[in-house]
């Protein structure tokens, strides 16, 4: 099983969720995060003092899928989240050892 972790623009969340659901993804977990990459923060003024907002709000979407589906999830996320502007985000894929559905105790592919 793979864990696909995508850090994307908050306003893309709805679309990504819809696209993935359509494609049969059965679950996902979302966290509000802040980050920067190529898209650096910008400088703001608060009460006359300049400061840099280094971190911009992003949303991290975690989707666990079986190995064979990982690529198609990747493709869907890329297609849906891409605007071509910097700040579009990143996807990280990692391998999982094990996965359990708590309700039933099922493990592995069954549990996805």
């Amino acid at each position: 099983m793979k864990k696909v972790e995508a850090v994307v623009r908050p306003n893309k969340l709805e679309d990504i969720k819809d696209a993935l659901t359509k494609q049969g993804v059965a679950g996902m977990t979302v966290t509000e995060v802040r980050g920067f990459g190529r898209q650096k923060g910008h400088s703001e003024t608060y009460r006359g003092t300049e400061y840099t907002v280094d971190f911009l709000p992003k949303v991290k979407i975690e989707v666990v899928v079986s190995d064979d589906k990982a690529q198609s999830v990747l493709d869907t996320v890329i297609k849906t989240a891409q605007t071509g502007q910097i700040g579009d985000g990143k996807i990280f894929v990692a391998d999982l050892d094990q996965i359990v559905r708590i309700r039933t105790g099922e493990t592995g592919e069954e549990a996805v």
């Binding site: 703001e44 003024t45 608060y46 009460r47 006359g48 003092t49 300049e50 400061y51």
Partner: protein, 464 residues
């Protein structure tokens, strides 16, 4: 619980004992007392209703309402300050604001009011002023002379109304300080300072003018307290913020300041609107009667100055970058502080200019002061800078304008400033050397809410 039970039983017993004592002692002249409080005091009014007695009722009603409006300014300060500081210090700053009004009312009843108003301090410690156990918190009309204090023989309002209005005023002065020292002062040190400040410092300088003291006789004018309330609070804020030093992380190693954004801007807006609302009582009540022409003029000059200050600071910040709501809100307060000294002396156009300049001044000084002194809420810029500006403005604009008056104003600003600075320095340094002014670095980093209060301002459902 055992200790707790004992404590409670003890306090109750003490209270009952004193109450019984009080009751017994009151027995002697209870005829007078009760009568004075319930029947006879109101008797002259119900006995024969004349236009004079009804005018007394109206005047008194207005001053009572003005006192209630000034009271709500304490909520304004509380939300303003907790909105402009970080969430990890929110409970701490709320606690300070809550305690100040409570402690302030009590000590003002015990000492401050007597010190300031009958002008006892001007009489250099005439005995009765400090006979606090008889005249002190009791403030009951015990004899015929004092019963008169509840009629128009006293003023356009009763003795109690006088106390109510002035006590609410007094506590605002200490509250001004709490914002400037937010996030790093020890709670107990602050409370001790604030108590001494409202008990002694404010009434003493206040008596110089409003108690009929030497500044009053020289011709110094301060209608509702640009100097007597606001710059006094502002000086104390400046000195304490200086003694404390900046919050950790406020200045970089090269001395440049960092911005530490406020945690809750809606609370800041709520605070400023409530302060403006309360200021109708602060300035309007300072007419000390419900005189239609004067009170309504004061309400209009107050509003126009506030509006001009808000527009000026808002647009100035926009001109130099983005429209900064905290500046606009500080600008409103700047306009209010600025008009306070001469709210009854200005034409509408005068009040517009006073507010406009106050708004620009507050924008400038927030930035300038921030370079050296860490004042999270801009208390010094609002209350000290604009308090001075407003006081001087009485000599520049309006009915009293003139070089002579400007000189009187300067003398007032300097003398009251000097006393307040010295008072604050002495008390501040003593506190620093004894119990300490500032919390430890790790307490500060964790936030005062965690380290001093043991409570979070915003708890979520799921994570303990």
């Amino acid at each position: 619980m055992n200790t707790k039970t004992r404590l409670v039983v003890g306090v109750c017993a003490l209270g009952l004992f004193l109450a019984q004592g009080g009751t017994i002692w009151a027995q002697e002249d209870s005829v007078v007392e009760v009568a004075a409080e319930t029947e006879e005091a109101s008797a002259p009014i119900t006995a024969e209703i004349t236009a004079e007695t009804v005018k007394f009722m109206v005047d008194n009603l207005w001053i009572m309402l003005a006192g209630a409006l000034v009271f709500i300014m304490h909520l304004g300060f509380a939300t303003l300050e907790s909105g402009l500081t970080r969430p990890k210090n929110t409970v701490n700053i709320l606690f300070k604001n809550v305690m100040i009004i409570c402690i302030g009312l009590l000590t003002y009843a015990l000492i401050g009011f007597h010190l300031m108003y009958p002008g006892e301090f001007n009489g250099y410690f005439a005995s009765s002023a400090f006979d606090i156990f008889n005249n002190g918190i009791t403030v009951a009309p015990e004899d015929a002379a004092q019963t008169a204090n509840l009629t128009s023989a006293y003023a356009d309002y009763t003795w109690y109304t006088d106390f109510f209005f002035q006590a609410m005023f007094a506590a605002t002065c200490a509250t001004i300080v709490s914002g400037a020292v937010a996030g790093r002062i020890q709670l107990r040190s602050f409370l001790i300072f604030a108590t001494l400040f409202v008990t002694f410092c404010y009434p003493i300088t206040g008596s110089w003018k409003w108690g009929g003291g030497w500044l009053d006789q020289r011709g110094f004018y301060d209608f509702a307290g640009s100097t007597l309330v606001h710059s006094v609070g502002g000086w104390a804020a400046l000195v304490l913020a200086y003694l404390l030093g900046a919050r950790l992380g406020k200045y970089n190693s090269d001395g440049t300041p960092n911005a530490i954004p406020g945690s809750n801007i809606p609370l800041v807006a709520i605070g400023v609107f409530l302060l403006w609302f309360g200021w109708f009582g602060f300035n309007g009540g300072s007419v000390l009667s419900a005189d239609p022409a004067l009170v309504s003029l004061v309400l209009v000059t107050t509003s126009i100055a506030a509006a001009a200050g808000g527009v000026a600071a808002g647009l100035t910040s926009w001109f130099f970058g983005k429209p900064d709501i905290t500046m606009a809100l500080n600008g409103i307060l700047a306009g209010l502080v600025g008009i306070t000294a001469g709210a009854d002396q200005m034409s509408i156009l005068d009040s517009f200019w006073i507010g406009l300049i106050a708004g620009v001044l507050v924008y400038m000084f927030v930035i300038i002061i921030d370079k050296k002194i860490d004042d999270p809420v801009g208390a010094v810029s609002v209350h000290l800078v604009c308090g001075i500006w407003g006081t001087l403005a009485v000599g520049i604009f309006g009915a009293m304008a003139g070089a002579e008056q400007l000189k009187h104003q300067l003398v007032g600003v300097v003398s009251i400033g000097a006393f307040t600075v010295i008072f604050t320095l002495v008390v501040g340094i003593i506190l620093d050397k004894t119990i300490g002014l500032r919390v430890g670095a790790s307490e500060e980093q964790a936030g005062l809410d965690r380290s001093e209060m043991g409570m979070e301002a915003y708890a979520s459902d799921s994570v303990g």
